[in-house]
């Protein structure tokens, strides 16, 4: 017989509906760019927002299902859908703030919007992947778009530098991840997560050694993407150099997507190996929290400060992974939601203070800002206090869940270190507020109410941060159900 038929696997199109909608929107934005011109391309942003809305609706509609598609390469469960919704919120707010921000930059290409959406497609794929190859491809789709976005402000030298640095180090880290995947494949003979879980649960001593080596390499790869110490060296320079809206997406979306895949693989697939990996993550968590917070104290540039702050928050999230179990997992999901809203909010305030040709990113520029724009002052206060973990905001509740999970699992020492770090962080977060309200000088501010898109971003972020702090139990229940859907 010269030829034979290949029977394609059963494909559930419904299951990949969010990915399909989002990819279609990204491509539509790319094509629509041909018919738009003029200095600002808000229309493209609107297309993106509508597409994200449709994706979110699809994700909500699928909430009560658990589907696999493409021979088990994709799994749509509540865990994946929770992250899909999280990415829709993050990308939506990023688009919204970009529609105001691009006016004050020289970025005049509509591809900016499509790249943001493509990056989001990669994030969604990572969160719903049930096969290591798909995880890798999702990571690459997300990262390559992010590399280009970091350098999209081409007339700025520091944007070029950020893109190059991010690309080189990112490619290096991807190599580690791939090496780890290859070792897991070598042990299990398959790249599907279910197959690897089966092998791991009945692993012989020889297989365990190879699994441990593979896990170590994957921790390096994911550690880079979430900016965990000692794989964080790229973060401050890249966060400072990239356009602020892109920095916001990197701090929030890229980090959450990496945690989505990281937690699915380690807390679910390789859960039986947790005695082996949790000790490593314990050390990483302590290093990440401490180095992040202590270095943040020394920063004079707000974007660098927020970069170190985002490193520190990766450390708190690692505490959740070490704690493990239902409580630790749900706490990570809840924390990521709170972190997304407050961090995006803080970056919107950074944008709000900047003007064309005058980014105003030094901490001195914040002097007196609280009086010149009471709304900005109020918003920044809420975000900073929430990031510092002060009640009654979302960040406090998130930290509370994370640390109580750690205590319940018996990691008292880790909790003490975490809480002490949290106290250190109060110094630099509140330092921003002290400048805003208690020092003179500073820069002229365009009132945010005259920039509707930015204003909308800030309102949503403020409302979300407060709502998470006041009514945490509903959302924690959602997070808990999402995490339980893994098992």
């Amino acid at each position: 017989m010269l030829y034979r038929m290949i029977n394609p696997p059963e494909i559930s199109w419904i299951a990949i509906l969010p990915v399909l909608l989002l990819s279609a929107t990204a491509m539509l934005t790319m094509v629509a760019d041909l018919w738009t011109d003029g200095p600002d391309r808000e229309g493209l942003g609107w297309i993106g927002l509508v597409g994200l809305m449709a994706t979110a609706i699809a994700a909500v509609a699928l909430w009560n299902t658990k589907l696999t598609s493409f021979a088990g390469a994709v799994v749509v469960d509540r865990y994946g859908l929770f992250f899909t919704l999280l990415f829709c919120v993050a990308a939506g707010l990023t688009l919204l703030m970009s529609m105001s921000y691009l006016e004050q930059t020289d970025i005049r290409t509509g591809d900016y919007y499509s790249l943001i959406l493509f990056s989001t497609v990669g994030m969604v794929v990572m969160a719903t992947a049930a096969d290591l190859i798909v995880v890798f491809l999702g990571l690459e789709v997300m990262s390559i778009a992010a590399y280009a976005l970091a350098g999209i402000w081409r007339s700025q030298v520091r944007s070029n530098e950020a893109a190059l640095k991010y690309f080189l180090l990112g490619a290096f880290a991807t190599g580690f991840l791939l090496f780890g995947i290859a070792l897991l494949y070598g042990v299990a003979g398959t790249t599907t997560l279910t197959g690897i879980a089966q092998t791991a649960s009945g692993a012989t001593a020889e297989q365990r050694t190879l699994l441990i080596a593979g896990m170590a390499l994957m921790i390096v790869g994911f550690g880079f993407k979430v900016a965990a110490v000692p794989f964080h060296a790229w973060a401050p320079d890249v966060y400072e150099g990239a356009p602020t809206s892109v920095t916001a997406l990197m701090a929030v979306g890229v980090k959450s997507a990496a945690f989505a895949a990281f937690a699915r693989i380690f807390m679910h697939t390789l859960a039986v190996m947790s005695p082996d990996w949790s000790a490593v993550l314990w050390v990483l968590a302590v290093l990440t929290m401490t180095v992040g917070n202590v270095t943040a104290l020394l920063q004079r540039n707000i974007k660098r400060m927020l970069a170190y702050s985002s490193i520190a928050h990766a450390g708190y999230l690692l505490v959740g992974m070490v704690a493990g179990g239902e409580l630790g997992g749900s706490a990570i999901l809840f924390y990521l939601l709170a972190y997304t809203l407050m961090t995006l909010g803080a970056f919107s305030v950074v944008i709000a203070l900047g003007r064309r040709g005058q980014p105003n990113e030094n901490l001195e520029d914040y002097a007196g800002a609280g009086f010149r724009s009471p709304f900005l002052g109020m918003a920044m206060s809420i975000f900073m206090l929430s990031l510092a973990g002060i009640p009654p905001f979302g960040g406090f509740v998130g930290k509370f869940y994370i640390f109580s999970a750690a205590v319940k699992s018996g990691y008292i020492g880790l909790t003490v270190i975490g809480v002490m770090n949290s106290l250190i962080s109060v110094y630099y977060y509140v330092g921003v507020l002290v400048r805003m309200y208690m020092t003179d000088g500073g820069v002229e501010i365009t009132q945010p109410s005259s920039r509707p898109y930015l204003f909308a971003t800030l309102v949503v972020a403020v409302a979300g941060t407060i709502a998470l702090g006041l009514f945490p139990s509903t959302l924690f229940e959602v997070a808990r159900q999402s995490f339980l859907a893994l098992g």
Binding site: I6, A71, L115, D131, I133, V141, A148, I152, I212
Partner: protein
């Protein structure tokens, strides 16, 4: 595989790989890499993986190496002085890389994977294009489709960063 043939090829491969790292001129480094990739292809041949050997030559020794050489000539890289990084850092990096290599060898040996699975009989139809195609369109269909999206994103990114019009 004949042990004598293996030892000979392995030695040549290692020599070529050392050439990549030790050559002073970037062109020589790149050409050593071509040699190393060819020897790797021969290994695939000896392991009865003819298709992978052919792909190795076409993709790596062919397309990717042409790109390397093109970039080197475009940037007009001359012999660069060896002290690119500080000596201490180079030593540290070398030590870490060697430790990593030793650890990999140790773990792979201890895992027994080299004896248990490497010497097994080759299944029927192994490495045929038909079998690879079947895998690609069944088990890895989603990855296959996703790769097209990845390539699209890579093209857009390259164009965005390289196109002439700045404003």
């Amino acid at each position: 595989m004949n042990t004598g043939v293996f030892v000979l090829l392995a030695t040549l491969l290692v020599v070529a790989a050392l050439g990549v790292v030790l050559a002073r001129s970037p062109i020589r480094s790149a050409l050593s890499l071509v040699v190393a990739l060819f020897f790797l292809a021969v290994f695939f041949l000896l392991l009865d993986a003819q298709l992978i050997a052919a792909l190795q030559v076409i993709v790596y020794a062919g397309a990717i190496m042409v790109l390397f050489l093109f970039v080197i000539m475009l940037l007009n890289l001359q012999e660069h002085p060896a002290e690119m990084a500080r000596a201490g850092l180079r030593f540290l990096a070398g030590t870490l890389a060697s430790l990593f290599l030793l650890a990999t060898i140790y773990f792979t040996n201890r895992s027994g994977i080299s004896n248990a699975q490497g010497m097994g009989a080759i299944p029927d139809g192994f490495d045929s294009t038909a079998q690879i195609a079947e895998r690609l369109f069944t088990q890895h269909l989603f990855a296959f489709e996703l790769t097209s999206l990845l390539l699209l994103v890579a093209i857009i990114s390259a164009v965005v960063l390289a196109k002439k019009k700045l404003a």
